[in-house]
């Protein structure tokens, strides 16, 4: 599978995933295997099918065809087991504006049944990692867009999940905050977590990802480590790779 050793344990296995919205095929026969402790980047322009793939992995969207497995559990038939091992930060900054940053994170800790004894220290840890310790007591409605996204990431990680799905995790963040999130993601990888992230930022993918999958019009058009892809297409960066594959810049849209 994608050149990986046969004994590799896969955190996520997607086979022939298809998702149709009426006449529009958002994901078209996508197959992908992501081993444990890998940071995997799903790259592509808006509307290419990245978020649909993430939503299928979370069980939020029922695929039209294909199968998805997370930690060996089928997403459709064993959804409760899948949800228990996975932390999700969606594309929209889905937070409760009337709660403080800390209360939002505490709430999601409770939803993941994090024991009360460890919840407090867990919340402190993730709030510190996303750089919001000093702002934890303020209501999220007063936060900037970047701060809301950081809280959203903290909400996905408070239960210390084995698998993390981050949909556009650093959109709208200042460079300093983005760097802090990158460091946090690297730290999670070092701890053996599997991370799947979608991004527009090529430098983010190159910095963080062990492998990337480039997706366009719902199809996986390239897969490999950033270095492999750059070498394969004699490209300066991943943006160049995308241009060579599609004839468009990644931010021009699908």
């Amino acid at each position: 599978m994608q050149g990986l050793a046969a004994q590799t344990i896969f955190a996520i296995v997607i086979e022939n995933l298809t998702k149709d919205y009426g006449d529009v095929r958002a994901v078209d026969g996508l197959s992908l295997s992501i081993p444990e402790a890998e940071v995997f980047g799903l790259l592509g322009p808006n509307g290419s099918g990245k978020t649909t793939t993430i939503n299928c992995l979370t069980g939020l969207i029922k695929p039209t065809g294909g199968t998805l497995q997370v930690s060996g559990h089928d997403v459709q038939t064993e959804s409760s087991k899948v949800r228990a091992v996975m932390g999700v930060s969606p594309q929209e900054t889905a937070v409760f504006p009337h709660l403080t940053g800390r209360e939002n994170v505490e709430l999601f800790g409770a939803l993941y049944s994090v024991p009360k004894k460890t919840l407090g220290s867990g919340v402190d840890h993730v709030m510190e990692k996303v750089g919001l310790m000093d702002e934890a007591g303020r209501r999220v409605s007063k936060y900037s867009g970047g701060m809301k996204r950081r809280v959203s990431i903290a909400m996905a990680l408070v239960q210390d999940p084995r698998i993390v799905l981050l949909d556009e995790p650093t959109v709208g963040m200042d460079p300093q905050s983005r760097r802090a999130i990158w460091d946090f993601i690297m730290e999670l990888r070092d701890k053996g977590k599997t991370i799947v992230l979608t991004t527009h930022y090529m430098e983010e993918a190159e910095e963080l990802c062990d492998r990337v999958g480039i997706i366009d019009h719902g199809k996986l058009i390239a897969l490999g480590s950033p270095a492999e892809l750059k070498s394969q297409y004699s490209a300066r960066d991943l943006e160049d790779v995308f241009i060579q594959l599609t004839g468009r810049r990644i931010r021009e849209g699908a």
Partner: protein
């Protein structure tokens, strides 16, 4: 379902209640302001009592040839301040009394005719009399009824039936003393007050619907459903939070109406059952809110759709319903709020016992309809989330 998850979600709703001004206004301040507005507008308007008193006569000797009891009833009618309705049994009459349809019940014993006849035959020989007792039940919520009816009944019996010119030193028939009356005054507000409890609660439909649609719009609902929390956890969180909010509403409205002069005649048990009925009604409103949220695609649409459930309850089931036609009042029987207001009127204003048929029927209807509507709401909402 895990209770700690439901409680965590309930806590989130409680925080919203006191942190979001619009939410706080609709749930707490609006009912309080409305109650105060009605109380100050109508509280001083007295004299709404009818000059004619409707009483029920239950003639336990009616199976025989009860001529004196019939004459007694006719004599009461001829006073021009009494309207008499015959009831077959005491239970039905008590139910009508507790619902405020009549102001008193006169229970004539089977031996009534024999007692009167014995007096007529031996007016000065008490040893020959057949003694009996007439029982009189009165509306505890009407001080005028309590003051006027016993004396009219007593005088009519002595003068028209026994033919006495003044009070007799002894009679074969004793008329029981009615219960003590605690109500100090009666006003239009007294008849409005029970309806305010249901009125305060029905806006919960809009709040629940808006809450869920807003959470769906900003993505947090989807985010919650990809955690191990189930739809049941989410909905139970709402049920817990809104039940508590419903109880707070009931207590606040009660404090307001009490401060404005509406003093329920119910005892502690009656008050508790009244609060229970009003709180259970919150389940119904949560159910309607969930149904609304499952239909509406946005918070704005939820506001509009919620009026489909809110308006019938408002016009047919609260104090507003008092002014409706008989046809509309018949339609009101299909609205849960009607039974809440009816039960609270029976308990708080009429002083009905918690075991009275009227109260138990209302409690049963409110509980059953609330549970059914809640279950329908849960199913509809679950289907819309997944």
């Amino acid at each position: 379902m895990k209770l700690n998850r439901a409680l965590a979600l309930a806590k989130k709703d409680w925080r919203r209640m006191y942190r979001e001004p619009a939410f706080l206004f609709m749930i707490i301040l609006f009912p309080v302001i409305l109650t105060i507005a009605f109380g100050t507008s109508f509280g001083a308007v007295g004299g709404s009592q009818s000059p004619t008193y409707n009483i029920a006569v239950v003639d336990l000797g009616a199976a025989g040839n009860a001529t004196w009891s019939h004459q007694f009833a006719q004599a009461l009618i001829s006073t021009d301040v009494m309207k008499v309705q015959y009831f077959q049994d005491n239970l039905t009459a008590q139910s009508a009394l507790s619902q405020g349809k009549i102001q008193g019940v006169l229970l004539l014993p089977a031996s009534f005719d024999a007692s009167v006849q014995s007096f007529k035959s031996y007016p000065s020989q008490p040893a020959e009399w057949v003694n009996s007792s007439v029982l009189l039940y009165l509306d505890k919520g009407s001080i005028l009824s309590a003051q006027v009816i016993p004396s009219i009944v007593q005088q009519t019996f002595e003068n028209a039936i026994l033919g006495l010119k003044g009070s007799a030193p002894a009679m074969p028939v004793s008329i029981s003393s009615p219960s003590l009356v605690r109500v100090q005054s009666s006003s239009v507000f007294d008849s409005f007050a029970p309806g305010l409890f249901a009125f305060a609660s029905i806006y919960m439909i809009m709040m629940v619907a808006q809450s869920y649609t807003t959470e769906r719009e900003n993505g947090v609902l989807n985010r919650i459903v990809v955690t191990p929390a189930t739809s049941t956890d989410v909905i139970m969180g709402s049920v817990i939070s809104y039940l508590a909010i419903g109880l707070v509403q009931v207590l606040l409205v009660f404090l307001c109406v009490y401060a404005l002069g509406y003093h329920p005649v119910a005892d502690i048990a009656g008050l508790l059952v009244g609060f229970l009925i009003a709180t259970v009604f919150a389940l119904c409103n949560i159910g309607f809110g969930l149904i609304t949220a499952s239909i509406a695609r946005s918070a704005g649409a939820a506001t509009g759709i919620s009026f489909l459930f809110l308006m019938p309850q408002l016009f047919l089931g609260t104090f507003v319903g008092m002014a409706l036609s008989s046809t509309a009042q018949t339609a009101a029987r299909f609205v849960p709020a009607y039974y809440v207001t009816d039960a609270l009127t029976s308990l708080f204003t009429r002083g009905a016992a918690i075991t009275s048929q009227a109260v138990l029927t209302d409690l049963g209807v409110v509980s059953a309809s609330s549970v059914i509507i809640l279950l329908v709401g849960i199913q509809a909402f679950k289907r819309s989330v997944r």
